[in-house]
Symmetry: C2
Subunit: 325 residues, 2 copies
């Protein structure tokens, strides 16, 4: 077992990150290269393969010691078929059998995983979930992504769209989500949507210190809402508190669903620190039942932007362990 490695590749709309990790999740090398989406399918596939090759080369590791490649891809995609289906931010990657292409070019067994699942697996394997077996991650960015580990295994689901936690309905008939549902947690609690909600309320004529920015033609950002809420702005406080409240609702529903030991928050929004964490914890505590004492621990993720490639490598290790190859 000693001295073997897996490559993890995090395929993003802007950059491809690749890392080389041993079975203990030690990162022995990592790089980032542009995805070059505008150059089309072949170029992107070349960049992915080259990133994997380069991280092996630069780490000075004999390729005979690299036993697997894991790739985290934006969805929709199919782990089972190794297929990138139709990712919104990678329009040139429609129906690309990326797993088999990379395996063939490199001669190394390859596995493909949903990027949100891969990041959650990264935190589970090497980060904030390292010591538990039932684990949930919410990633709070432009959207709200999710990943669920049940009894040490990634939950994928029949249609391979499991753990789309941003689209749990937390307020039926509520705010319209980009997915066309109403009242998704994403519609209230993503960095993007909480800024949009504040803009909408300013446009309705509600007084707020944020009006100056809106009037100046500035696009509101989540950090503006946090800043204004912390300074006592009532509108910003309402938007922020509701974002945290609906995350609390989602926590309690996850508590009763997969009953995890720990739920981890990740993504850009966690820059808000304790202003986010203690608020979500407080709402979840108030919302949960008193029948049993099984509210999960709520914590922050610890791997930051590296969770993607670390988790992708972890998925390769897991594929090897479970005999996927």
């Amino acid at each position: 077992m000693a001295d073997l490695y897996c490559v993890g590749v995090d395929l993003g709309g802007t950059n491809i990150k690749a890392g080389l990790l041993d079975e203990g999740a030690k990162v022995v090398g990592n790089i980032s290269v542009p995805t070059e989406v505008d150059r089309g399918t072949q170029a992107v596939v070349d960049n992915i393969t080259e990133a994997a090759e380069r991280v092996m080369r630069e780490a000075g590791v004999d390729r005979g010691k690299v036993v697997g490649i894991g790739i985290g891809s934006p969805g929709p995609m199919s782990h089972r078929r190794g297929l990138v289906i139709n990712p919104g931010n990678l329009p040139c990657m429609k129906n690309v059998p990326l797993r088999d292409i990379v395996a063939e070019r490199t001669g190394i067994p390859t596995t493909l995983e949903n990027d949100a699942n891969a990041a959650a697996w990264g935190e589970f394997w090497a980060g904030a979930g390292r010591d538990v077996s039932d684990f949930v991650m919410f990633t709070l960015g432009t959207g709200v992504g999710g990943g669920v580990v049940v009894n040490g295994r990634l939950l994928r689901g029949h249609f391979e769209n499991g753990a789309e936690l941003g689209h749990m309905i937390v307020q039926p008939g509520g705010r319209r989500c980009s997915c066309a549902q109403h009242g998704c947690v994403e519609a209230y609690s993503s960095a993007y949507n909480l800024a949009r909600r504040a803009e909408e309320m300013v446009a309705e004529g509600r007084p707020s210190s944020l009006k100056k920015r809106v009037d100046a033609g500035e696009l509101l950002m989540a950090e503006h809402i946090v800043e204004a809420a912390q300074a006592g702005d009532a509108l910003a406080e309402q938007v922020w508190d509701e974002a945290c409240y609906y995350l609390g609702v989602a926590m309690v529903t996850m508590q009763h669903m997969s009953n995890p030991q720990r739920v981890v928050l990740a993504g850009g929004l966690i820059a808000a620190g304790d202003f986010l964490l203690s608020r979500v914890r407080s709402h979840a505590s108030k919302l949960t039942w008193n029948l049993l004492n099984d509210l999960p621990e709520i914590q922050f993720a610890t791997l930051g932007n590296d969770a993607g490639f670390i988790g992708a490598a972890g998925c390769a290790w897991e594929a090897r362990r479970t005999g996927e190859w």
Copy 2:
């Protein structure tokens, strides 16, 4: 493998049901005996053991061919520790290590499972979920129970309270549930609660054909609501439609969570037939996203009250298969 059997025991507050099943889920014998809760712990434990012994004896099966016993117990309980902890309807069964007691008395390996999980496993193994690998069951009775199968394995969770689907929050700040949360699906969609909601609305002075029954001191039943809604009573129609609507919300959240191929409805309320099923399907279809076509099939369970002992026997077969013993 041929000619081997497992016993399944469904421990209820009133009756103990036991069955003897082969590995293909064929029921070769089954009985029902009173639980006799009021006679205390020893009597109940004796009745459980005797039910298992009797079903083997009466089927004329050599006990050397019985390779396992599965017991479905009301929660809270621990599968891992084989412990009945504190079931509301079995007050004498506090902290009883039932698994080990039964295993010792019978000399047959025994497993203990949550009764809602066992019933869901029954439908998954031998009923409406027989041909799928990702499966969810909602049991609509006095409460709303649940069971979730992920990739062919029962979801239990870290605290062993997974799949408590009745307590998913579908209306934050909504109707108070017996668990002290607000807006649980159980608070709207259980047989018990939809009758209570109708009574509350009658008490508020809302006109309804149900008022006659309430005034006569009758306790409203779910079937009264169904009957009145079908006859065009507006109050009953509202209560019924909301019960179905919140089940639809729960379906969509489960779609995004465990992403099952099929969700099955079970319990007394399914006597309402298509008046329930088509209404729930219709709400779920309207509530779901249009990003991906992954709404699960929604169907009725097929095993009725036998799901409990069938599933308990199935849990024993599964314990054997997975090397629990």
